[in-house]
Symmetry: C2
Subunit: 251 residues, 2 copies
């Protein structure tokens, strides 16, 4: 059998606002699009709509920047209020240069501006924060899809992050439900009967990257369905992907 995966963009969701039933919106859009969900499908949902539905929005008019935020903003030609919000979302500053703050979020993600985003936000002065607990967001969506469409799908919440060593951002997983983010080949043998050396594939990140090809940035495709993927359906947390600094040979 030829291995084939389909990546289908889900469109036509209404504008998402706080307290909206995002899972219901996605279920309706899937149905309206005539797509049939199957057990074992993967649904990748953009962080932005998840955060909006969860009310993770800050109106910059309500933000009083701290002296540190004012100082950083003036040194780096940034908005002091946006900078203040970024600092509040940080557990640690990784680096700060040329107007960019690379931060470690409370979840442990390392990304620009602690994931605080101004583009695609509802009002001109509103910024969008990462979900408080993206695994929980993913589980909530999985449950809602099960309720509405009767199908168990894996959910990945994704965001577009830069990375060390290589230019350009890629879509990565920041929350998971119904899928182990890793696919483990340890102990398996290659066709020559030799044990495989590359051991663990970050399959949730590969799925998020694949979805990123369809999400684009302008297309209003906030959710993407992947059919035919191989993954481990164990319940797990995205924290399994975050490598403790002391184990990181790649730094």
């Amino acid at each position: 059998m030829v291995p084939e995966i389909r990546i289908i963009g889900i469109q036509g969701l209404p504008e998402v606002n706080p307290c909206d039933d995002l899972g219901g919106f996605i279920a309706d859009a899937v149905t309206a699009q005539g797509v049939i969900l199957d057990d074992g499908d993967v649904l990748v949902v953009a962080q932005k709509v998840v955060s909006k539905a969860e009310g993770r929005l800050v109106d910059l008019e309500d933000v009083t920047p701290s002296p540190l935020a004012v100082e950083i903003a003036s040194l780096h030609d940034r908005d002091p209020r946006h900078t203040e919000v970024v600092l509040r979302e940080c557990r640690r500053i990784v680096r700060m240069d040329r107007g960019v703050i690379i931060a470690e979020t409370r979840h442990g993600f390392r990304c620009a501006n602690a994931g605080v985003d101004a583009s695609n936000a509802p009002g001109g002065d509103t910024v969008v924060l990462l979900p408080l607990d993206p695994d929980t967001s993913a589980r909530r969506l999985a449950k809602r899809i099960k309720q509405t469409l009767g199908v168990e799908v894996a959910i990945i919440i994704s965001d577009t992050f830069g990375r060390p060593w290589r230019e350009g951002a890629v879509n990565v997983a920041i929350g998971v439900a119904g899928i182990h983010p890793m696919l483990d080949y340890r102990g398996l043998e290659d066709p020559q009967g030799r044990e495989l050396r590359t051991t663990t594939i970050a399959v949730a990140d590969e799925l998020a990257a694949a979805a990123g090809l369809v999400m684009g940035k302008l297309d209003r495709v906030p959710a993407v369905l992947l059919k035919g993927c191989r993954f481990d359906r164990a319940e797990a947390s995205i924290s399994e992907v975050i490598r403790p600094a002391e184990h990181d040979l790649f730094r």
Copy 2:
């Protein structure tokens, strides 16, 4: 129109040996599989078969390890001959610990063991090196596909690399032809008319990651076809993805 991408594994290639016509093998396999290639399709080809076709194989019986390789191997419980080959492929050692050498290759890639791989190699004592110039490898394959099937496809040579900060390896692009590895959104506006902040997507890496979902590690799927992708068809080099250390805020 619903945006949809298909990822189709190409199977049934014979075992690839030095000087084999890999492009011809792939064209034959595509045809045998009944898949129709279209202009603008993307073909992701695993580094391993490219390297084999290019004779980038080293029999460890022919390798005399240097004193440094012997020293490293004994400290880190490694094969001294394999270690010697890794050192020869390095431009710089990034880090060495717990038996792993993270190296910068002459191409500028930073990866474990400078990309030297022992699994899936033909003989028990043979290792596979990265192609000398993966962009050229990609261009050669694109030309051969054009000759045999009359279609202009983009080619990505891919390999599975670990990365900083996140556990697990992902498939990434190490060579390109007929595709710019970046997709540039700078200056474009979001649906609210605000300029997008995230600017450049490493589309070749997202395509490689998507292909990785079908390649797996055991399946003998050395090539993967992607249909329906959006990318910039400019000719470019994978070197555009390699971020100079002095510009790397993420380190």
